[in-house]
C-alpha cells in the first residue's frame, strides 16, 4: 500500500518540481517568472486540446504516450520514497528492474520521435543514444558501488548501505554522489547538456522527441518527463542522502519522511536552477567527454569499495 502512496506523492509533486525550477531560474535571471503551478496548468490545457498527428505517424505515436507513462510509473513503484521497508516495493525495489523500466521508456520515446517523421527527432534520437551509452553504465555502477558493502542490489538494501557509507566510507559516498548528480543533469535534459527552454530545434536532445506531439499525448509525455526527473532525484537521495526515510511504519515516522523528502527535493531542484542560471550549453561533442569522466568516477567509487 505504501508503494502506491509513494507513487501518488511523486505524481503530485513532479509538475511542481519542474515549475519550481523554472520559477527559481527566472528569479536568478532577474525576471518575475511564471508561477510554479504553470506545469499543472499546462497539463490541464493540453489535456483539453485535440491531438494532431503527423501523416507519417503510425500506431507507435498513439501507443507510446501511454506506454512511456506506464513504464515510468512502474519505475516509480520500485523506489523507496518514504518507507525503507523492502516488502511492498515493486520487484522488491531491484535496481535492475528500475533501470530496465526506464531504459525501455527511453526506447519507446526514441521510437516515438522516429515515428513522427521529423528530422529533428532523428537527430535528437542519435544524440540521446550516444549519451545513454555512457549514462546507463554510470548510474548502474554508482548504485552498485553504494550497495556493494551490504551486497545489496535493491533499493532498501542500498538505503541502509548508503546510511552506513556516509559515516564509514565517505569516499564511496562522495564519488557516487558526483557521478549520479552529474548524470542526472544529462538524463533530465538540463544545462549545460541540453537546454530545456530552447526554441532552437537544431540543438535539442530530449525535447526533440516531443516536438510533433500535441494535445493529451503531449500532456502524458510531458508528465512522464517530469515524473522521470523526480525519480532521478529520488535515486540520488536513496544512494547518497538516505536520511529521514521511515524504517518502522509509525505515523510520526511518515511525517518526518515526507518532510525530509520535500526538503531534499527543494535543495536538489534549487541546485539545478542555479546550475542552469550560471552555465552555458556545451558543444554536443563535449558531453561524451563529460559523461566519460562521470563513468570514471563511478568506477572509482566501485574501486573505493574494494580498497577501503
Amino acid at each position: 500500500m505504501i508503494s502506491v502512496w509513494q507513487v501518488l506523492l511523486l505524481m503530485v509533486m513532479a509538475p511542481f518540481v519542474q515549475g519550481y525550477v523554472q520559477w527559481l531560474k527566472a528569479r536568478i535571471q532577474g525576471r518575475i517568472g511564471p508561477s510554479p503551478l504553470k506545469p499543472w496548468r499546462d497539463l490541464r490545457k493540453q489535456l483539453a486540446k485535440e491531438v494532431v498527428l503527423s501523416n507519417a505517424a503510425s500506431w507507435v505515436s498513439r501507443l507510446v504516450p501511454y506506454l512511456s507513462l506506464g513504464l515510468v510509473l512502474g519505475a516509480a513503484a520500485c523506489l523507496p520514497v518514504l518507507s525503507g521497508l523492502p516488502g511492498p516495493l515493486l520487484g522488491s525495489g531491484s535496481i535492475f528492474l528500475f533501470l530496465s523500466l526506464l531504459a525501455f521508456s527511453r526506447l519507446s520515446l526514441l521510437l516515438l520521435g522516429l515515428d513522427s517523421g521529423s528530422a529533428f527527432a532523428g537527430m535528437g534520437a542519435g544524440r540521446d543514444l550516444l549519451f545513454s551509452l555512457l549514462v546507463e553504465p554510470t548510474i548502474f555502477i554508482s548504485l552498485l558501488a553504494v550497495g556493494l558493502p551490504a551486497d545489496a542490489t535493491a533499493f532498501p538494501g542500498i538505503l541502509r548501505a548508503a546510511a552506513a557509507n556516509t559515516s564509514q566510507n565517505p569516499a564511496v559516498a562522495s564519488l557516487a554522489l558526483v557521478a549520479i548528480a552529474g548524470v542526472i543533469l544529462v538524463e533530465t535534459g538540463r544545462l549545460p547538456v541540453d537546454n530545456p527552454d530552447t526554441h532552437l530545434e537544431l540543438t535539442m536532445v530530449h525535447e526533440s522527441f516531443l516536438l510533433e506531439s500535441s494535445g493529451r499525448y503531449l500532456a502524458l509525455l510531458s508528465f512522464s518527463a517530469q515524473l522521470r526527473q523526480l525519480l532521478w532525484y529520488t535515486v540520488l537521495f536513496a544512494a547518497c542522502f538516505p536520511w529521514g526515510i521511515n524504517e518502522s511504519s509509525t505515523g510520526a515516522g511518515f511525517a518526518i519522511a515526507i518532510l525530509s523528502f520535500l526538503i531534499k527535493v527543494l535543495f536538489a531542484s534549487s541546485a539545478v536552477a542555479v546550475i542552469e542560471g550560471v552555465f552555458a550549453k556545451w558543444r554536443v561533442f563535449a558531453v561524451p567527454r563529460y559523461l566519460t569522466f562521470m563513468l570514471a568516477l563511478a568506477v572509482a567509487a566501485m574501486l573505493a569499495d574494494a580498497i577501503l
Partner: protein
C-alpha cells in the same frame, strides 16, 4: 562618382574589370525606363573600400528582348540582384549559374509572373496565389536532409533552411527567404519623398534610423541640398544610438544561441534601458520618425543631449562588466571560437558588409569610405577607429560588436558635446533645409552604415516631386548568401549560434 555606360553584352566584362581592381559590388538597380527611354536599365554600383572611390556601370536592356550577359559567373556577389531583376522585371541574365527564382516561390515564378515591378502592373493588383510542394531530393547514402522552417518553434521571421548533414556535420546549406515580401519598393512609386521616407523607415524594425537616413541622403543628393549643422549632429547621434542598442542586444542574442541566460538577460536589460531612452529622446523606441528630408524632424535640446551622454556612459560601464563575465567563461569561449568561420575569400567574392566583413578582416564601413553629414567631420574621422578581427569566427563577430560599441559611445559623446555647444534650435530652419522640387528622372544613391552593415538606397525621381523607383539594398540582403557559406564544416547544433552571430534581418529582404 564615375558613371560609365556599355551595351548589355559587355556589362559582364566591364563589371569584372572593376571587381578585379578591388571594387566591391554595392548594389544593382534594375529599372523600367521604357516610358522615358524605351528600354530597361541596369545599374551596377561599385565602391572601392580602400579609397572610397565609387563607380556606377549602366547598361540598357532592350524592351523587346530583355536579355543581358550575367555578371554572376565572374562575380558571385551579383547572384541575388540578377535573380531579383528576373523575378520582378523579367530581365534575363544569360549564362547565370542559378537562373531559378529567388523572391517568388512555387508555380508563380514558372507560369503566371506578371513581373510586378514593370510600370504597367498596377500595385493594387495582388499577385496570383502560390502553392509549393516540399519534395525531398535523393541524397547520397549516409547523408540526411534536414528541412527547418519556414515556420519555426520560436517567434521569429520566416526562412526555410535545408541542411545536408552527415551525422552531425553539415555538408551544405540552402536558404530560402522572401516569404513575406511586402512590395515596399512598388508601393513607394508615386509617393512623395516624405511618404517615401516613412516607407524606407519601415524596411526594418531595428535599422529604421539608418534606412531613413539613407533614403533622405539619396533625395538630398538629387536636390543637391546640404542639411543644417545641428541636424547633421542629431543624425549622427541617432544613428550611433541605433548601432549601440543593436550591438549590445546582439551580443545578448548570441548568448541565447548557447543557452547562456545570464548574458541574454543582462544584455536585455541594457538594451531595454537604451530603448527607453530612445523613446524619451525621439518619441520612438526604435528611433523612427526622427529623420526628415533635408534634416531632422525633432530637435535634441542640450539637457536631453547631456542626459543621453550619461545614459550611454552608464550603459557602457555595465556592458564592460558583462563582457568581462562573458569572455572569462570557459564554455562561452569554447563555443564561440573556431565556430562558423567566414573566410576572407568569401567576404570578397560575395561583397559581405558590416561587422561580419570586418570580423573576417575586411575593412568596409560606409562611415569611412562614403561619409556623409557629420561623419565627414574631421574630429569624427579621427575618433572613428573601426576595428577589424582576422579570425572570422563567432568570437570575432562578438568582439567586433563589443569594440564597435565603444567607438559608437565615443561618437555619441562627441555629438552630445557638439549639440550642447551649437546655438539652440531656432525654429525649423536650423533643423531642416527647405527642398526644391527636383527634375524628374534624376537619381542618386544614399549610403549609411547600419548596425548590420551598409544600407544603400537608390532613389529615382518622378514628375512633381514623387518617387519613380526606390531600390533598397540593406546589409542583410548583402550578407545572407554568406551565412550559407559559413555553416558547412560545422555541426548542425551550432547553426543557431552561427546564424545569431550574423544577426541578419528577414524583413530587410522582404522589403
Amino acid at each position: 562618382m564615375t558613371l560609365m555606360t556599355c551595351g548589355p553584352q559587355a556589362i559582364s566584362t566591364l563589371c569584372q574589370s572593376y571587381a578585379s581592381q578591388g571594387f566591391r559590388l554595392q548594389t544593382m538597380m534594375a529599372t523600367d525606363e521604357r516610358r522615358i527611354h524605351g528600354h530597361y536599365v541596369l545599374r551596377y554600383a561599385f565602391v572601392h573600400d580602400a579609397t572610397g572611390h565609387s563607380v556606377v556601370l549602366e547598361t540598357a536592356v532592350p524592351h523587346d528582348s530583355p536579355h543581358y550577359t550575367a555578371v554572376t559567373p565572374a562575380l558571385p556577389a551579383a547572384n541575388w540582384y540578377e535573380r531579383e531583376a528576373l523575378d520582378l522585371l523579367g530581365l534575363f541574365p544569360d549564362g547565370h549559374p542559378e537562373p531559378f527564382p529567388l523572391m517568388l516561390h512555387g508555380d508563380l515564378a514558372a507560369n503566371a509572373n506578371p513581373y510586378p515591378l514593370r510600370k504597367e502592373v498596377d500595385r493594387a493588383v495582388s499577385l496570383p496565389s502560390v502553392s509549393r510542394s516540399l519534395s525531398v531530393e535523393a541524397v547520397p547514402d549516409g547523408e540526411f536532409e534536414v528541412p527547418v522552417g519556414p515556420i519555426h518553434a520560436g517567434v521569429i521571421e520566416p526562412g526555410h533552411f535545408r541542411f545536408h548533414v552527415r551525422g552531425e556535420d553539415v555538408q551544405s546549406l540552402d536558404v530560402t527567404l522572401f516569404y513575406t515580401h511586402r512590395g515596399l519598393e512598388k508601393g513607394a512609386e508615386g509617393l512623395t519623398f516624405a511618404e517615401g521616407l516613412a516607407v524606407a523607415e519601415q524596411t526594418c524594425g531595428v535599422c529604421s534610423a539608418s534606412h531613413g537616413a539613407a533614403f533622405a541622403q539619396a533625395v538630398e543628393a538629387i536636390c543637391d541640398a546640404h542639411i543644417p549643422e545641428r541636424a547633421m549632429w542629431i543624425r549622427l547621434l541617432v544613428l550611433e544610438l541605433e548601432r549601440l542598442y543593436n550591438h549590445i542586444g546582439d551580443v545578448g542574442n548570441i548568448c541565447a544561441g548557447i543557452g547562456f541566460s545570464f548574458g541574454v538577460m543582462q544584455a536585455g536589460i541594457l538594451k531595454e534601458k537604451l530603448q527607453r531612452h530612445n523613446a524619451r529622446l525621439t518619441g520612438h523606441r526604435f528611433l523612427r520618425n526622427m529623420m526628415a528630408i533635408g534634416g531632422v524632424a525633432r530637435d535634441v535640446p542640450s539637457d536631453l543631449a547631456a542626459h543621453t551622454g550619461h545614459v550611454v556612459q552608464e550603459t557602457m560601464s555595465a556592458f564592460s562588466g558583462l563582457v568581462n563575465v562573458l569572455l572569462s567563461n570557459e564554455i562561452v569561449c569554447d563555443r564561440f571560437r573556431q565556430t562558423g568561420i567566414l573566410a576572407l575569400d568569401v567576404v570578397r567574392q560575395y561583397g559581405v558588409v558590416g561587422p561580419a566583413a570586418r570580423a573576417s578582416g575586411y575593412l568596409a564601413d560606409a562611415r569611412l569610405t562614403q561619409p556623409s553629414g557629420a561623419y565627414s567631420d574631421k574630429e569624427v574621422q579621427t575618433l572613428l577607429h573601426v576595428p577589424t578581427f582576422p579570425d572570422g569566427d563567432v568570437m570575432a563577430r562578438v568582439l567586433q560588436r563589443i569594440e564597435e560599441s565603444s567607438v559608437s559611445a565615443t561618437l555619441i559623446g562627441l555629438a552630445v558635446a557638439k549639440l550642447r555647444s551649437l546655438p539652440k534650435a531656432d525654429g525649423d530652419s536650423s533643423l531642416v533645409t527647405p527642398m526644391v522640387t527636383p527634375a524628374p528622372y534624376e537619381w542618386a544613391l544614399g549610403v549609411t552604415e547600419s548596425p548590420r552593415g551598409e544600407n544603400v538606397h537608390f532613389v529615382m525621381t518622378g514628375p512633381n516631386g514623387t518617387i519613380d523607383r526606390l531600390r533598397i539594398r540593406s546589409a542583410s540582403y548583402a550578407n545572407w548568401p554568406a551565412v550559407a557559406k559559413a555553416v558547412p564544416g560545422n555541426i548542425i547544433a551550432d547553426f543557431p549560434l552561427i546564424n545569431k552571430s550574423f544577426e541578419l534581418c528577414y524583413a530587410c529582404c522582404d522589403r
